[in-house]
């Protein structure tokens, strides 16, 4: 099969590529773009480690072909912190509440939670648990992660900020 030309913006940077139709988005990001923060834990859409934001919505990069992302704005875990390295509210909450151990599932959680808090800034505990149920973690027993999401929601409510940097930027425009 012939390669297909695509054009995407990844973490704000425009990228053109000619890719095989069967190349999954996760491999495009990891191999073609060198953004290895997006991890593959199952390659069948259950573990959530490969979650990225596609036009602001959390998707599983193992279930999407790169060609399907043509024209899209993609944010990976590398694109969430400030350029000077300051962690996003969600990332900082994970650090402050021991929401990660080995860190392999972490990018998927951080991305999913970022999208979730955009959609539901004041979640109940049950809503948090429900929202997290699409991401698997084997280290933390989810205790620190749930606390981190709660704390991130509170911090965002206090600051009136937004979980994702892009959304903040848009609001200030």
């Amino acid at each position: 099969m012939t390669d297909v030309d695509i054009q995407v913006r990844v973490n704000g940077i425009a990228r053109r590529a000619s890719v095989p139709p069967r190349l999954i988005l996760a491999d495009f990001l990891r191999v073609n773009c060198g953004l290895t923060g997006t991890h593959l834990g199952c390659e069948h859409g259950v573990c959530g480690a490969c979650s990225v934001l596609l036009d602001g919505e959390a998707v599983r990069a193992c279930l999407i072909f790169a060609v399907q992302a043509d024209g899209a704005e993609i944010t990976t875990v590398e694109g969430l912190a400030e350029p000077d390295g300051e962690l996003s509210v969600v990332q900082a909450a994970f650090r402050d509440h021991h929401g990660l151990q080995c860190g392999f599932c972490t990018p998927g959680f951080v991305v999913s939670v970022t999208a979730f808090l955009e959609e539901n800034p004041k979640p109940t505990d049950d809503e948090i648990r429900d929202a997290l149920s699409g991401n698997l973690c084997r280290c933390t027993g989810y205790q620190g992660i749930i606390n981190a999401v709660r704390a991130a929601a509170e911090a965002l409510a206090e600051s009136g900020g937004s979980a994702s940097r892009d959304a903040t930027a848009k609001e200030t425009e």
Binding site: P20, R22, L23, R30, L35, T36, G37, T38, H39, L40, G41, C42, E43, H44, V46, C47, A49, T76, V77, E78, L80, A81, G85, L87, Q91, F94, R95, D96, H98, L100, Q101, C102, G103, F104, C105, T106, P107, V110, I128, R129, D130, L132, S133, G134, N135, L136, C137, R138, C139, T140, G141, Y142, Q143, G144, I145, I146
Partner: protein, 798 residues
């Protein structure tokens, strides 16, 4: 404790919830896991695996695969297996009895997923295409699927092992105890069958091997708990010097025992790298992991206890059988013996014995998993609840009567295990108090009256940590104060989420007396770190603390000597050194910083008296003074069981543990949480299942069910701190959660269903299992009622 020591303690980093230094890179996607490693010209490996549980290989046709564009090579056993020079693990030693472990299947495949050929191609996509084109002719043989009947099977997994027996080990003869059991007022027994489940780290296995033929050196990047084990293994495998192999691991995405040892695919990559002119990468996918990364926990045992009239335990025995799978790593007998040895647990049991047998089967091989002997707690704690119901005593009262008290320690259990520094009864009472056990029993009574079935279960266990085996009995550290006064500490590492970088900088900052921000740690690279056993056996905390403390103490001595010189030649014992600043006792105005001391040590050596050593770098190796360090905990779980759907909802979950003083409470608690949830998964959801033909039926995360945030309760913790005899008084804490959780959950379910006369003997407790148990109990009950009615009629007629 004196006042001055207390003042010092408050300044210590150990004991504080220090934020992890690992987090910034991991949260921003800048960690380096093995799949993130890219080498120039690297080729990708994919394995052709057996679709059949047992078959003779009658032919392999690789021609079509080899013809595919982008395929570099297709290798089979003939290309790989003859190049195995020596194959044994440092963990076990050269002379330990071992089981077969060929890199690729040769002549016969022995489980579904058994690697038969390896494809080397330009990328993983092409490698997977090529695997489809390899034609293997199989002549199917009858598989030995059920390990429990393997001893009686006429079929053999390995010809050299009659009766499929890997090995057998035990204590005194069971018959010795017959008089005690025969004469006991109460004898309770049950056979428990535990399903296969496993570590399931979120990062699968993976390895990159790069061979440099011109100088005969190998560089390996891999997901491992023990880089030095991989290095030594590779050197022996290829018969090259140990220092010609460099193993690097930066971030490993969970291990839990699964990544303690290199396995068959790793051997293939090591050997194949010497045959092809390019670095090789293999990243296991999840399906392969579920087929071939190993199984654990698959065992059963008949547990028996005899009690006197008052419910005091007179004797305890377990007759235990464990599934080794086709290719266990390591030989399971060595760790399997612990099931029997620790079966008496934290109880006063005058006599007992055990017998363990290990069976090959045509399934994935047994590997280490967090508390490999965990079945001792399942069998003991579940049997105690059965005993309580049979004798008619509250299970908590039964345990109180029998649990070891502090004033009885140290002691040895009836199988010879030497317990010390444990607090089972304290953790038991603390956990029950957190729950408010009596209030729960009242609530349970009301709930039952309202047709709701809630239950409580407990598990109290003792656990050997930091065992001083040949490989694990020492640990090294190198600490270097750099010329600027910044500190680097080098340890072997192998951290897979267990926060070893943060732990080491806390310990080093304390032991040297410097600011934690001035300490960094380098781990996981065999070329630059001291030799070490890696992460396993709940050893990293205590053993690394020993290594750091010993090394830092010597280095601190050198710092003080230099400071004494720079402070005008005062006696060394008059020098104070805290947070990187030295001063003379009583005159704090005159100071010299570590940066100045280091500058002198490296660049002003000419100004120093000859008896002072130059530079500031020390390597030390700690030798364990203990056989093992005992940790203990109690898990308490409450649940509600829906008797129509069989669904179990966990209501409260409490762990009270004693791992001695905590270096970092966040890390300790994280280990307990994670282990506990793995244990909950094992009790309720997870099963690596096979059908009768030996086909795995759980090959995705849609079938192998890990607990999610939606199922897991909030875990409440209590701590008891009893120092061990090890360094810093620390004990290991990595494994215990996974040991204590399954029995607590099982007992809670059994307690909830006690009104129905349900007896649990098979795991996991899925909704279907529970519905079946209820139906069986109802039938038994109906049959019992009919029999009773019949007897009554007979009596009337008579």
């Amino acid at each position: 404790m004196s006042g001055s020591q207390q003042a010092t303690d408050t300044d210590r980093y150990a004991g504080r919830r220090v934020k992890r230094v690992e987090d910034a890179r991991l949260l921003t996607g800048r960690g380096t896991f093995v799949d993130d490693v890219v080498r120039p010209g690297m080729l990708h490996v994919n394995f052709v695996r057996s679709p059949i549980a047992r078959a003779r290989i009658t032919g392999i046709d690789i021609s079509e695969a080899l013809a595919l564009d982008g395929v570099y090579a297709v290798l089979t056993a003939a290309d790989i297996n003859p190049y195995v020079h020596e194959q044994w693990f440092s963990l076990e030693g050269r002379h330990a009895p071992d089981t077969p472990r060929p890199p690729l299947a040769e002549g016969e495949v022995r489980h579904v997923g058994d690697p038969v050929a390896m494809i080397i191609a330009q990328d993983r996509y092409v490698a997977e295409d090529a695997a489809e084109l390899v034609i293997v002719d199989y002549d199917p043989l009858p598989p030995v699927v059920d390990y429990a009947t393997a001893f009686d099977s006429s079929e053999l997994v390995h010809e050299a092992y009659p009766g499929n027996l890997v090995g057998q080990i035990g204590g005194r003869p069971m018959a010795d105890l017959a008089p005690t059991f025969d004469n006991a007022p109460h004898v309770v027994s049950e056979t428990y069958h535990q399903q296969a489940y496993c570590a399931m780290p979120m990062e699968t296995r993976g390895i990159v091997t790069e061979w440099s033929p011109s100088d005969g050196t190998m560089t390996i990047w891999t997901a491992t708990q023990s880089p030095h084990e991989v290095r030594g293994f590779c050197a022996r495998l290829l018969a090259i010097p140990e220092h010609s192999v460099r193993v690097v691991m930066r971030d490993t995405g969970g291990g839990f025992g699964q990544k303690v040892l290199p396995l068959r695919e790793d051997m293939c990559l090591m050997i194949a790298a010497t045959k092809v002119p390019a670095p090789l990468k293999w990243i296991e996918d999840r399906q392969e992991h579920l087929l071939a990364a190993g199984q654990a926990r698959h065992e059963h045992g008949e547990a028996r206890m005899a009690f006197d009239d008052d419910g005091r335990i007179l004797a305890a025995t377990i007759d235990h059988v464990q599934d080794a799978g086709a290719y266990p790593s390591p030989n399971p007998v060595g760790s399997g013996i612990a099931v029997g040895l620790i079966f008496p647990g934290p109880y006063r049991i005058p006599e007992g014995t055990f017998n363990s047998r290990f069976a090959f089967s045509n399934t994935s091989g047994r590997v280490a998993y967090r508390g490999p002997w965990q079945f001792e707690s399942v069998a003991r704690e579940c049997l105690l609840d059965v005993a309580a119901r049979q004798i008619g005593i509250d299970p908590v009262e039964l345990r109180r009567k029998n649990m070891l008290r502090r004033d009885e320690l140290p002691t040895a259990n009836c199988n010879g295990m030497p317990y010390s520094d444990i607090t089972p009864l304290e953790t038991f009472e603390q956990a029950l108090e957190i729950l408010d056990y009596d209030a729960f029993r009242r609530e349970q009574e009301q709930a039952r009256a309202a047709g709701r079935y809630i239950g409580v279960g407990t598990c109290t266990y003792v656990e050997p940590t930091a065992g001083a085996s040949a490989l694990y009995g020492t640990e090294g550290a190198t600490i270097r104060v750099e010329p600027s006064g910044k500190v680097n500490v080098y340890v072997a590492g192998g951290s897979c989420g267990n926060s070893l970088e943060t732990t080491v900088i806390q310990l080093t900052a304390d032991a040297l007396g410097v600011d934690i921000a001035d300490v960094s740690s380098i781990q996981g690279d065999t070329a630059v770190t001291p030799f070490g056993g890696g992460t396993g056996g709940s050893r990293s905390g205590p053993m690394t603390a020993g290594a750091v403390n010993q090394t830092a103490t010597e280095l601190r001595g050198r710092i003080l000597a230099l400071a004494a010189h720079l402070l005008g030649g005062v006696p060394v014992d008059e020098v104070e050194f805290t947070r990187g600043v030295a001063s003379v006792k009583g005159s704090p105005e005159k100071q010299v910083t570590l940066a100045e001391i280091a500058d002198t040590a490296y660049f002003k050596s000419g100004s120093l008296p000859a008896e002072l050593s130059v530079g500031l770098e020390v390597s030390g190796r700690f030798r364990a003074q203990h056989l093992m360090l005992w940790a203990n905990a109690t898990h308490v779980c409450t649940c509600e069981v829906d008797i129509v759907t069989g669904e179990v909802k966990l209501l409260r979950y409490i762990v009270s543990e004693d791992c001695g003083p905590m270096i970092n409470p966040n890390v300790v608690e994280g280990q307990i949480f994670g282990g506990t949830v793995q244990g909950i998964g094992g009790a309720l959801y997870e099963e690596l299942a096979y059908d009768d033909a030996g086909n795995p039926v759980t090959t995705t995360f849609m079938d192998y069910l890990l607990p999610t945030a939606a199922e897991v309760p909030t875990i409440e913790l209590g701590h008891v701190e009893t120092p061990s005899i090890g360094p810093g008084g620390y004990k290991g804490v990595g494994e215990g959660g996974a040991i204590g959780a399954p029995p607590a959950v099982i007992n809670a379910v059994a307690d909830a269903l006690a009104p129905f006369g349900v007896r649990i003997s098979r795991l996991p407790l899925t909704p279907a299992t529970i519905v079946n148990l209820l139906e069986e109990a109802a039938q038994r009950g109906a049959a019992g009622a009919a029999a009773a009615a019949g007897a009554a009629r007979t009596a009337v007629a008579g």
